[in-house]
Amino acid sequence: MAEENPIEKILNMPGNCLMTRRQFLKGMGAATSTILLSDIFLHPLLGRAALVTQDYPRKKIGGLSLLKNDQPLEFLYPDESAHAICFLVKLGERAHGGVGPQEDIVAFSNLCTHQGGLMRGLYDAQYKVAGPCPLHLTTFDLTRHGMVVSGHATEGLPQIVLEVEGDDIYATGVQGLIYGQASNVSA
């Protein structure tokens, strides 16, 4: 997790809320060290080519030893803006794109891909589902790459591509377009 908890900072900024239509702050400009990736990133655990058309930063977002089952942690990715709110969770069961010894560690954008509702704290441990979104009740299956279970989103929840190096978990890309973005990585 980032040291100053930029997520709380973004959410607590005056006038901001991910709930308001008119004011949505672009967030903080903290620089991240980036590692540029090649155009096509082939992820062994995803079982197929993950089409990553852009250069994503490689960012350490957590440690295997710090994760407890069903206790999501938040982080910002791929940048430090409010749209970058993501969560990392150890589901306790094998998941598509999951990393770690049990292939059960996954990460997703925390913004509903229907209309951008903030899905913070809405993790259903029993069914491994994110949601229902506070805006219109969409739910997403986290064992199946964020597929819509029920609801209205026209895209699954964008899944963060993870890599494990020793105890460290790195975010290295995003599959799917994050709500609100025309491109996950600005030109």
Binding site: Q115, G116, G117, L122, D141
Partner: protein, 918 residues
């Protein structure tokens, strides 16, 4: 078909062309905007660089975000273009602020893209020669059809020439269809896509004086309590739920379904009720609720005294002769129509209305029935709750007449039916696109009720009886959509492919000769007109296949579930030689020698149709008169009105007395070039509306401010259980059989004709599914992800009974005694989803999956009172046959329950002011 995730989308440049349209799918009819621009260009992320005038990233609820499924490529004047279809973020009605469903949200994927999954659109007329569909010219195809039609009508009569068409694919097309069928040919052999013959869907509502779409969506925000029967609008009229109900007055929802859905789970979690009913038992529930309400004196006596018909009003207006229409007959024949006092006495003395009987028959615990009665009618702090009653197919497609009539009566007792927030209405399925050029020629129909009253045809039974020689099927799968689907398809096969006369030559004369031999040897010729080649109608049964154009390819109009009329703009080319349905009809009619079909464009059809709708609730005739004064085309005025459109009936007023708020909701049009204003109509039967005197072309029908009956009063109907119980007892599952009931789910529209071409949706639903309760699954060794087979070897099919003479001739008991019920078979396969959400003893599956039509398990014995099928009352035995790949793979299909409401934090419930939250 792999779904490829992308992490960027092209933005429309500032000069992209912008069109307005509405969703092609469910009844809600959300407003959409379409952006089209040439390939090779892109807009930028700054507001001035893109046509959405948005600085990206867009904030939540912006109505300005383009998800990857909202972008596609299309063809405009032969050249590749980008196309973006997004909900209208500026909408102030229907889908306010750009709300949408998953179906409409993926509209862009519907667009014909020669390099994408829609590349297989039908492009040329084809004739099946040597068993193979072979392209021919329009001229040849239509000449063959016309020559054959003349022959058949001449030799076998009009009733041997029939059509089965959608009822909703836009006014211009249905007007052309009905003009051909009812005015020019005058055939009684006609049926819409979702029923065996023309007529009411919810006859009990109509008989009660309630137009099935009298309400406005706003009413669902105004209600304190919403009693929802036989549907979950979250699943199928999504934005009614997620916008108008969710953001409404703090409300309570009661939902009656055999299967818990997301909306039902939400209802339970927010102080409402989920009543998990045994399929087919709704009438009993309605009677029990009515009895409890009457016993407690919770009925709205003031409303009843003012608005419900007394004996004189029931009988008045008919004279003493024959009751010529079914509803006049049903109202006055003495068995059903009742005054309040008669209805009250009947309910209070009915065994079926007693709580013990009701709880046993419906499977709903007594305390829940009592609670529901109190919630819908019991005073809260001395004040009556505003309750609205809304229903859909689970209600009227299980016991058509009795369910709808008893439901309307329950609503009327509670003071609903005509006031803001207190409405009785259908929620609807598809949109309202029927514009009739002429009435159905009922006098020519081969069917008759006992007595002298004519009845509309049951076209399926007519086909099975070998009476139809020419069948023109437009925009429906026909067999899959009707009951006992596989048996019906088999009948089609017998009459077409198994007939010895099959086309062996491309020569027009030879083709006509062969097909004449076909019909002269008790065979049938089938034409299928659609946008895709469908199973089995197109792939196997049709002799001719005609390519249609549709949404986005022609300027078209229709209304949504609150009668909102909009223009659905053309923005791209249709594939190949595909033509609008109205065009195909007109060219056929010309070959038949019929006059009045020389339309040049769809606007001309729209303007011509207007005067035939003047008496109806979809009347837009004043708009057409108004545009003539302005010297513009009617479609162009609608284009100006954008996604708001105007709610029909359209009225013309020189000085409207409607409030600005009312007009902003209904839509209106004022021009400095001419006097007066076109105004819309928010709600029907509405005594709070002051329409003034009818001005200019305006027509004031009684139902504008009163109920739609001869007296303007609402009518109560007794609903004797014995009209249904003989059939119900016969079809109840026995032994190891289970009920099979069906419905829509959010992600799939109709037969999935578009969805099966959406990799995104096919990842979620690569196959059809069946929900089964663990108590039923475990003894059969069925687990989630198993492929199961459901078989019904006891599918009842009515084979005759076109004419009733004695009172009970058409009852199930008598049909059976007369040997007019045969037993057929049906079997479907699906992927099992084991869930406690479905009632034990009940299976739930998608209603229209093309390769496994669940209607195959459904009896084809229509309601004798209304000729409507009981689609929701199938049955079958279920067994595991294999494991699907989805059981182990994590790539496709989710088995998580659709009802997860564990942690419910609903923004709308947190007492936020509306403007704050959207």
């Amino acid at each position: 078909m792999e779904y490829k995730r992308v992490d960027k989308i092209p933005l429309p440049p500032a000069n992209a062309k912008v069109y307005t349209t509405a969703c092609d799918y469910c009844v809600v009819g959300c407003g959409y905007k379409v952006y089209v621009w040439p390939d090779g260009r892109e807009g930028g992320p700054k507001a001035h660089q893109n046509a959405l005038n948005m600085d990206y990233p867009a904030p939540p609820l912006s109505g300005r975000w383009i998800s990857p499924n909202q972008h596609n490529y299309c063809v405009v004047q032969g050249k590749k273009h980008h196309v973006v279809v997004i909900p209208d973020g500026d909408a102030t009605v229907v889908n306010r602020g750009g709300n949408h469903s998953i179906r409409g949200g993926c509209l862009a994927q519907k667009v014909y893209n020669p390099e994408g999954p829609t590349a297989d659109r039908l492009k040329y007329p084809q004739i099946r020669i040597h068993g193979k569909l072979t392209p021919v010219s329009w001229d040849t195809a239509l000449a063959v059809m016309a020559r054959l039609s003349k022959y058949i009508i001449g030799k076998y009569g009009e009733a041997a020439w029939g059509m089965k068409t959608y009822s909703y694919e836009f006014f211009e097309n249905t007007y052309a269809i009905s003009k051909l069928a009812f005015e020019s040919i005058q055939t009684p052999a006609y049926s819409e896509h979702d029923k065996p013959g023309p007529g009411n869907d919810t006859a009990g509502l109509d008989d009660s004086g309630i137009d099935a779409f009298s309400a406005s969506y706003h009413d669902y925000s105004l209600a304190d309590v919403i009693f929802i029967s036989g549907t979950d609008p979250f699943e199928t009229k999504t934005v009614i739920f997620t916008d108008w109900i969710l953001k409404g007055h703090p409300n309570k929802i009661i939902m009656v379904l055999p299967r818990k859905t997301a909306g039902a789970a939400y209802a339970e979690k927010t102080g409402g009720l989920f009543l998990q009913i045994i399929p087919g038992a709704d009438t009993i529930l309605h009677l029990a609720l009515s009895k409890i309400i009457l016993e407690n004196g919770w009925q709205d006596q003031e409303f009843i005294d003012k608005y419900v018909a007394n004996r004189f009003e029931i009988d008045s207006g008919f004279g003493r002769g024959t009751r010529n229409t079914p509803w006049q007959w049903r109202t006055t024949w003495g068995k059903l129509g009742a005054t309040y006092q008669e209805y009250r006495d009947w309910v209070l003395s009915s065994k079926e209305a007693e709580l013990d009987f009701a709880s046993h028959t419906t499977g709903i615990p007594k305390d829940q029935i009592l609670k529901a009665a109190e919630m819908i009618a019991g005073p809260v702090d001395g004040k009556r709750p505003k309750t609205s009653f809304v229903l859909e197919k689970g209600n009227y497609w299980s016991n058509n007449y009795l369910n709808t009539a008893s439901y309307a009566a329950l609503g009327l007792l509670c003071g609903a039916g005509n006031r803001p927030g207190q409405v009785i209405s259908r929620l609807g399925g598809h949109q309202r696109g029927w514009y009739g050029a002429a009435s159905y020629p009922i006098l020519l129909s081969p069917e008759k009720f006992p007595g002298r009253r004519k009845k509309e045809i049951d076209l399926d039974r007519w086909v099975e009886a070998g009476k139809l020689r020419f069948a023109w099927c437009i925009g429906t799968t026909w067999t899959g959509a009707m009951a006992a689907s596989q048996e019906l398809a088999q009948s089609f096969r017998r009459l077409t492919r198994e007939n010895p006369h099959q086309i062996q030559s491309a020569d027009e004369d030879e083709i006509v000769k062969t097909l004449k031999n076909r019909v002269d040897s008790e065979g049938m010729v089938v034409v299928h007109q659609d946008i895709y080649l469908r199973e089995p109608m197109g792939t196997e049964l049709a002799d001719l296949v005609l390519p249609a154009s549709g949404w986005g390819e022609v300027d078209l109009t229709r209304c949504n579930g609150e009668r909102r009329l909009r223009l659905y703009s053309k923005f791209c080319d249709a594939p190949g030689e595909a033509k609008a349905d109205w065009w195909i009809i007109s060219r056929f009619a010309q070959k038949m020698g019929f006059k009045g079909y020389d339309w040049k464009d769809s606007n001309q059809v729209f303007e011509e149709a207007a005067r035939f709708g003047r008496g109806g609730v979809l009347n837009y005739h004043p708009l057409v008169v108004y545009v003539k004064k302005l010297g513009i085309r009617a479609h162009e005025l609608l284009r100006e009105m954008g996604t708001r459109g105007i709610q029909t009936p359209v009225r013309y007023r020189t000085h409207p007395t409607e409030s600005q708020e009312y007009l902003e909701y209904t839509g209106y049009y004022r021009s400095s070039m001419t006097a007066g204003v076109l105004v819309g109509t928010k709600r029907l039967h509405d005594p709070t509306l002051d329409p003034g005197v009818p001005e200019g072309p305006t027509v004031h029908q009684k139902w504008l401010t009163a109920f739609n009956s001869h007296s303007g009063k609402a009518l109560l109907h007794k609903t004797p259980w014995e009209f249904f119980s003989d059939f119900y007892e016969r079809i109840k599952p026995k032994g190891d059989e289970l009920w099979v009931t069906t419905g829509r789910i959010n992600e799939v529209w109709q037969s999935a004709f578009d969805d099966m071409r959406r990799p995104y949706i096919m990842e979620r639903w690569p196959d059809t599914f069946v929900e089964i309760h663990p108590d039923d699954a475990s003894p059969r060794g069925i687990e989630s992800g198993d492929v199961v087979r459901i078989e019904n070897d006891d599918v009842l099919i009515q084979t005759g009974g076109f004419v009733g003479v004695e009172d009970d001739d058409l009852s199930f008991t008598r049909l059976n005694e007369q040997g007019l019920i045969r037993v057929g078979k049906g079997a479907v396969e699906a992927v099992a989803m084991v869930t406690e959400d479905v009632r034990p003893g009940v299976l739930f599956t998608n209603f229209l999956h093309a390769s496994s039509p669940a209607n195959s398990l459904v009896h084809r014995v229509p309601d004798p009172i209304t000729n409507r099928y009981r689609f929701k009352l199938g049955k079958g035995r279920i067994r595991k046959v294999a494991e699907s790949p989805y059981k182990k793979s994590l790539a496709k299909m989710s088995f998580a329950p659709r009802t997860v409401m564990g942690i419910l934090k609903v923004a709308a419930l947190e007492q936020k002011k509306e403007e704050e939250w959207w």
